[in-house]
Symmetry: C2
Subunit: 289 residues, 2 copies
């Protein structure tokens, strides 16, 4: 079986490594816009050989893991070129615009929109590891548009990873992810920005900040190119989530200015209700890392 | 040597445990507004006996670790009652109002304002552990107002914890902490609130959220009473920090609405500069937990 990985960063690299580990017979081809990533992926044995455009017709599976604002055109091009029995999957964090862009392609049923809920704040092939996806959630979007035997193929290839599989509509996916993932990244990046503006002396941040600060701004280490693309592709939903977040912060500021402390306390108590969910997520995550 | 711990939660309990571990001759007395905390602290051998008001005159050291909005009056009362050679320390997260409130007390020089930069999202005596403060930062505020030999006593008692000691003015302390600690907690609580408002079905959050979300809202598990008190005591600085944070979020939303993606990317790149500081904090924290 021949598999091509287009995009050899954290996600593409980790998926390639898991396939190589679990399926000895798979031959892995790879492509990356960044020639250093390609070289590194070859050195680290993430892939067996570089992929050329001419190789595409021979692939049984093409996995696209690149910034989401570049994915639409690459996937359309790949669909044009692949064998009529091949599966094309993407691993991006947004799905709405992509699924619309490819809706009318004659090979639409060879495409499967996938989003593994897994990642770290690191990027590039050096950050990839074969267990990144193990026991995490995999979301497949709009599967009714994909050929059933190709969905089965995808399921069989990720079976060794023991992922929890969820099926959602692409629009619905983007709406939920705006809240539980994209908004977190913005809150973290902007918190980092606010602190950097005030604490011009880095040493002060280092000396005074504890694990709480480090935890809330951990995502500010994330890859700017990856995340600018996500915010762009999910612009409408992200703006809406951001509006609600800003509204809540302004209301909190108002309560503080008016010394409404019992309301503030009540509100924090209600948010504490997240605790069991968070403990569950952390437990789930600890399986994979 | 006799030490009293007023407040037997995470901070007071952990400091008591470290004293008992490192100084066998110390007798530990304890007091807590919550009778269950007192009982638990006795059961867990965090303290040797309950503290009565009459015992106060015999204490060599009184450590106050209670919600910061209650600390001012308790400390004034304790200063009234302690022996003229005793040291009184507080461990709270805000210092400005407190140092003002006690400035004219005749025993002001027996008081030392301390803030250990250490904590977890858990609370109560069960959450206490003797190594909480190990290798963390300890801030002493306005030390010029404290009797030098009493500062030396405090330093000798925390010496086994190998803490990094910083000296700051109380006002300056509150200004910096508003940014590197208090704002993080608000951003986390409000992120949790925003997601809970939209995702009425908890299962969706659980299924779709990854470690990124868990990390940014970890602080939303923090104790509402402790944190309402901190926001109250540091109201002015917290409101200012919150205004700047909201301003940055609004500017980001504007860039997103106007599709200024290269500006967004540039901005995220600049925030990435925090990475070495964050890695340093995480390394520092990992010593103690």
């Amino acid at each position: 079986m021949k598999v091509a990985s287009i995009g050899l960063g954290l996600i593409g690299g980790s998926f390639a490594l898991s396939l190589k580990k679990n399926f000895a017979e798979i031959q892995l081809y790879g492509m990356d816009k960044n020639p250093k990533h390609l070289q590194k992926a070859l050195e680290l044995n993430i892939i067996d050989q570089a992929l050329s455009d001419e190789d595409l017709i021979e692939m049984d599976l093409v996995v696209v893991s690149i910034p989401v604002d570049k994915a639409n055109s690459v996937i359309l091009d790949v669909l044009d070129k692949v064998h009529p029995k091949a599966l094309v999957m993407d691993m991006g964090s947004t799905k709405g615009k992509l699924c619309k862009a490819i809706a009318e392609h004659p090979k639409r049923d060879q495409f499967l929109a996938a989003h593994p809920i897994a990642g770290t704040e690191f990027s590039g092939p050096e950050a990839a590891f074969s267990l990144l996806f193990e026991k995490k959630t995999m979301i497949f979007c709009d599967v009714e548009a994909s050929r059933p035997e190709l969905l089965d193929l995808a399921l069989s290839l990720i079976a060794p990873l023991e992922m929890s599989i969820k099926y959602m509509g692409a629009e619905d996916h983007d709406k939920h992810l705006a809240y539980v993932s994209h908004l977190s990244h913005i809150s973290s990046f902007m918190l980092g920005k606010t602190v950097l503006q005030v604490e011009q002396n880095d040493k002060t941040i280092f000396d005074l900040a504890g694990s709480g600060f480090a935890s809330t701004v951990r995502l500010a280490k994330s890859n700017p190119v990856t995340w600018t693309a996500i915010f762009k592709e999910n612009q409408e939903e992200v703006v809406r989530a951001l509006e609600e977040y800003i509204h809540n912060l302004q209301a909190f500021k108002g309560q503080l200015e008016q010394s409404h402390y019992s309301e503030i306390n009540q509100q924090l108590q209600e948010v504490n209700n997240l605790t069991p969910i968070l403990n569950g997520i952390l437990k789930k995550e600890s399986h994979g890392n």
